[in-house]
């Protein structure tokens, strides 16, 4: 969640785009579909679109609201804020989470801060500037109307959170403090030490629990959504499993909201929580919701490296460390196992300072991540050998400690150093830290229109689960902003236009569509429990993660992606024949929970590779080796790829055969901003 200056952008007149070639690498893997013509943003000047939409969205009489019901899946920032707000409005809300309390959703782990165009520093910030920074940070692959709205409502978020009692950092005068963050030149980031996500989520959680007390929201903890109910083409409920009793429950409503987070765990190792998964989104995708830009993944350069085959998750270290730490690897391979303190200065390769003399250690995330990978691929990585390779680079504070003194370094980074010491058992004041990139966030997600409605009417998607605001790369301190913008200020307005068509016909629990969804869930569970194979769910998950990381991670190639698709298909097939899930369906069964999630990751992984194969350009977090400048930097092809790739599921709904997905393109048109190429020179 932390960030640093991300990039500068220039219109470089000397820049020539090499031909991308007309061939489509993904031919044969997908079926071309109709383009998406209308994302339903109002016309007119960009700064009036949201006002127009709010005015045009029909109202629901307060007396009618208590007759309308809403299911919200997920209680992170985007879900808890929406549940609280819609409860306050008087709708009947059911809120679901797989954790034992809504307060545990993974938004809680966000460290750095939340952006808002308050311009409290009078340093030239504005809604337009936040909009501009976010679009360019996303490498011109986001929808401008959505991003503008995000910037617009950002200021309301801070007001709301302060009123709720969120203890943001303050100055001595009692006013809110800001810091500079995330690839921008203004100070617009509000923060609560390194625990901003925690404090914002607790604010939203408390607002949610207040509505539970008021009787407008009912919470279902330790419940996992396993299927979407679609009746007459509209989302009308979910099938959920009570994870304690194993009961399969039918929950019907007039509208369903997915706020179920991102799918970074398709890589097995990521900074996500252990339970973070794609199942809610993927089940909706299989029922007709398009999945947009699934290959856009953010890989963070400063995480604690993998220490062994037992590794279950990766921990992010604030990227601010790169402000004072120097990154290096040994020049000679034979030095890699040595104590770094014994390697003389002349034998160290400060590779970022060498390759990018003007940006040095502060190059953007994607560059820093790839450069680390290249050093390790070259056999010059450090730290323990895991599966024969050392995957780590040094982040050295010796110079900073000599220059600033240990106390100053401690003051700035003390909590991070402590965290590092706890996890690695090494003292970073004495021995250089080791870092390596890790999957952190996904920009892709379910396709939504301007109203945050998916391609299934009545199914809305908020937060990281949707694709809309971050393009191909998310700036730091923008995930919290988007989650709360969607939940507090956007969805409550747009959803009412849909609900204004109510009251809706009641759906009976024995409606064929409900029975079908329920039966599918029961069959699936029975399937996992009766395969009786030899391999654990985790072993499949780990293998999938290795494939994704190797071929669909920091650098992607045509050959690699094709290979990955084959490997994933084989693995998926084997999973369904040979997985071993013990225990029963009618009790708490964590292996069974994981089996369902991994089965969906095994399908998602293939789609991510197809999406990456189709996009033969480099943009944001997506780097195709075939599309780079002579200096090895990312090269976009706006003439060919300035579109959102929205994928329609085309498999057999009754089996695990996926079928070739259908690609629908939504052209990205910028009216309020000019597309430029990033440069780091």
């Amino acid at each position: 969640m932390t960030d640093m200056p991300d990039t500068t952008l220039t219109s470089d007149p000397s820049y020539h785009e090499p031909s991308a070639g007309e061939s489509d690498d993904a031919v044969g893997y997908y079926v071309p579909g109709d383009p998406i013509i209308d994302a339903k943003a109002p016309d007119g000047p960009i700064d009036e679109r949201w006002s127009t939409r709010k005015f045009e969205a029909r109202l629901v009489n307060p007396a009618n609201r208590r007759k309308l019901s809403i299911i919200i899946v997920g209680t992170g920032l985007a879900g808890a804020s929406a549940a609280a707000t819609l409860g306050e409005a008087g709708y009947v809300v059911k809120s679901f989470c797989y954790q034992d309390s809504p307060r545990r959703a993974h938004s809680i782990a966000a460290q750095g801060g939340i952006n808002a165009a308050k311009n409290y520093k009078e340093d030239g910030d504005s809604v337009h500037r936040l909009f501009y920074d976010t679009v360019k940070g996303g490498d011109y692959r986001s929808r401008e109307s959505n991003v503008y709205r995000l910037a617009e409502v950002s200021t309301n978020i801070i007001d709301q959170c302060v009123a709720q009692g969120v203890p943001f950092a303050r100055e001595y005068g009692g006013l809110l403090d800001n810091r500079s963050f995330g690839g921008v030149q203004v100070s617009r980031t509000f923060y609560a030490r390194g625990q901003t996500g925690q404090q914002l989520l607790i604010g939203a959680y408390q607002a949610l629990e207040r509505q539970v007390h008021a009787g407008t929201v009912t919470t279902y903890t330790r419940h996992e959504m396993l299927e979407l109910i679609v009746v007459d083409g509209k989302a009308r409920g979910i099938i959920a499993r009570d994870m304690v009793t194993g009961a399969i429950e039918t929950h019907l409503a007039d509208v369903v909201v997915l706020a179920s987070g991102g799918y970074g765990n398709v890589f097995y190792l990521s900074t996500n929580a252990m339970g973070s998964n794609v199942t809610a989104s993927w089940r909706a995708h299989r029922k007709g919701a398009y999945m947009a830009n699934p290959c856009y993944t953010q890989i963070h350069p400063t995480c604690i490296p993998v220490s062994g085959a037992h590794q279950s998750k990766l921990t992010l270290m604030s990227e601010s460390l790169r402000n004072d730490g120097r990154i290096w690897v040994p020049k000679k391979k034979e030095d890699c196992a040595k104590d770094p303190r014994d390697i003389p200065e002349a034998d160290r390769d400060y590779y970022l300072e060498r390759i990018y003399p003007s940006f040095g250690n502060l190059v953007p995330r994607d560059i820093a991540s790839r450069a680390a990978k290249y050093q390790c691929d070259d056999g010059r990585g450090v730290g323990p050998e895991v599966e024969g390779v050392r995957r780590g680079v040094y982040l050295d504070f010796a110079d900073a400690i000599a220059r600033l003194g240990r106390e100053a370094v401690e003051e700035k980074y003390g909590n991070l150093f402590d965290m590092y010491a706890r996890i690695t058992g090494e003292d970073p004041y004495v021995v250089p830290m080791r870092i390596y990139p890790a999957v952190h966030y996904v920009m892709g997600g379910l396709w939504v229109d301007y109203d945050l409605q998916s391609t299934i009417p009545g199914l809305f998607v908020t937060g990281e689960a949707n694709f809309s605001d971050h393009g191909a790369n998310r700036l730091g301190a923008s995930a919290l902003m988007q989650g709360l913008a969607d939940g507090y200020f956007v969805l409550p307005h747009t959803i009412r236009d849909y609900l204004a068509d109510g009251p809706f016909e009641t759906v009976a629990e024995d409606h064929p569509a409900v029975v079908e969804a329920r039966t599918a869930v029961e069959k699936r569970i029975e399937h996992f429990l009766t395969v009786n194979g030899t391999r654990s769910v985790d072993s499949y998950h780990r293998e999938l993660g290795n494939i994704m990381w190797e071929y669909c991670g920091m650098e992607r190639t045509e050959d690699g992606l094709r290979k990955a698709i084959d490997l994933i298909r084989t693995l998926r097939d084997d999973f369904h024949r040979n997985v071993k899930v013990l225990g029963s369906a009618d009790s708490l069964n964590q292996s069974l929970e994981k089996a369902g999630r991994v089965a969906d990751f095994l399908e998602l992984g293939e789609l991510m590779c197809i999406d990456a194969l189709n996009r033969r350009e480099s943009c944001g977090g997506h780097f195709r080796a075939e599309s780079q400048t002579e200096d090895g930097e990312a090269l976009r092809h706006d003439d060919l790829y300035a579109y959102v790739a929205a994928w329609e599921y085309a498999g057999d709904p009754d089996s695990d055969a996926m079928g070739a997905p259908v690609l629908h393109k939504e052209d990205l048109v910028y009216t309020a901003i000019e597309m430029k190429q990033r440069s780091y020179k």
């Binding site: 782990a109 309301n156 709301q160 009123a163 629990e209 919470t219 304690v244 062994g308």
Partner: protein, 247 residues
């Protein structure tokens, strides 16, 4: 290293439980405690024994989902969460006793998982500031002295893991509750509901079956976020004031 684990296993809330003994070889000191249990679970799965159920989610010490009684200490020997405890805190040949949180108000769900829903129900009784979305004034219209803001933050870092309850011989949740009372009570926004908040939350606390506080201090010693004991003084003070005000 090699460790011997004595682990509480209980099929569900209604059944009886018992301690079971397991050996785990090849434990690396770089493993987290929960990764060591992951390894054990893989081994159990391989020999057709059902894996041990335990809770964890973020595994970076902030979500509050994990929590094990390790050799009689909540979260084990270090001041941190179970997920941030690493095997280098143990040595070869150690015997480690692992139990779920023990408290009447936290019934066991299965094996090492407990139900901490009581914490949510305490928060429902006033652990918030009543402000509807959209009703907030401009953020800078509310000034908060830095000292108050910092104290509010410090106690708001509670992760709701329940270690305080597990540590307390009385099974009291006073530290948890005091942290919330202090967080909201330090802020000007929290004043309007200050009296009703404390009265309602304490009533719910008692109703849930948590015990009373007798100032033993085990809670703060076990707290991975080092919430100070004085939040309980604050809780008692606020309760007394509210009662004097006729609540």
């Amino acid at each position: 290293m090699k460790v011997t684990l004595k682990i509480w296993r209980q099929p569900d809330a209604a059944s009886d439980g018992a301690m079971h003994t397991y050996e785990v070889d090849d434990v690396s000191e770089d493993m987290s405690f929960l990764e060591m249990l992951d390894v054990l679970n893989e081994q159990l799965n391989a020999r057709d024994e059902e894996p041990i159920a335990f809770d964890s989610d973020c595994r970076e010490g902030i979500c509050g989902m994990c929590g094990l009684m390790i050799n009689g200490e909540p979260h084990g020997p270090e001041v941190t969460t179970t997920c941030q405890l690493h095997m280098r805190s143990f040595k070869d040949g150690d015997e480690i006793v692992i139990e779920p949180w023990r408290a009447d108000a936290f019934p066991v769900v299965k094996d090492l998982c407990v139900d901490r829903g009581a914490f949510d129900r305490i928060i429902q009784q006033g652990g918030y500031i009543s402000v509807n979305t959209g009703a907030a004034p401009e953020a800078h219209s509310i000034q908060v002295p830095k000292e108050a803001a910092d104290r509010a933050f410090d106690v708001a870092t509670c992760i709701g893991c329940g270690a305080c309850v597990a540590a307390c011989p009385n099974g009291s949740a006073s530290l948890f509750m005091g942290a919330k009372i202090t967080h909201l009570g330090e802020l000007p926004q929290g004043q309007a509901e200050r009296d009703t908040r404390v009265v309602s939350m304490v009533a719910q606390h008692d109703h849930e079956g948590f015990g009373g506080c007798t100032n033993i201090g085990e809670c703060t010693a076990a707290c991975p976020k080092e919430i100070p004991l004085d939040v309980i003084s604050q809780l008692n003070k606020d309760l007394r004031t509210a009662l004097q005000h006729g609540h």
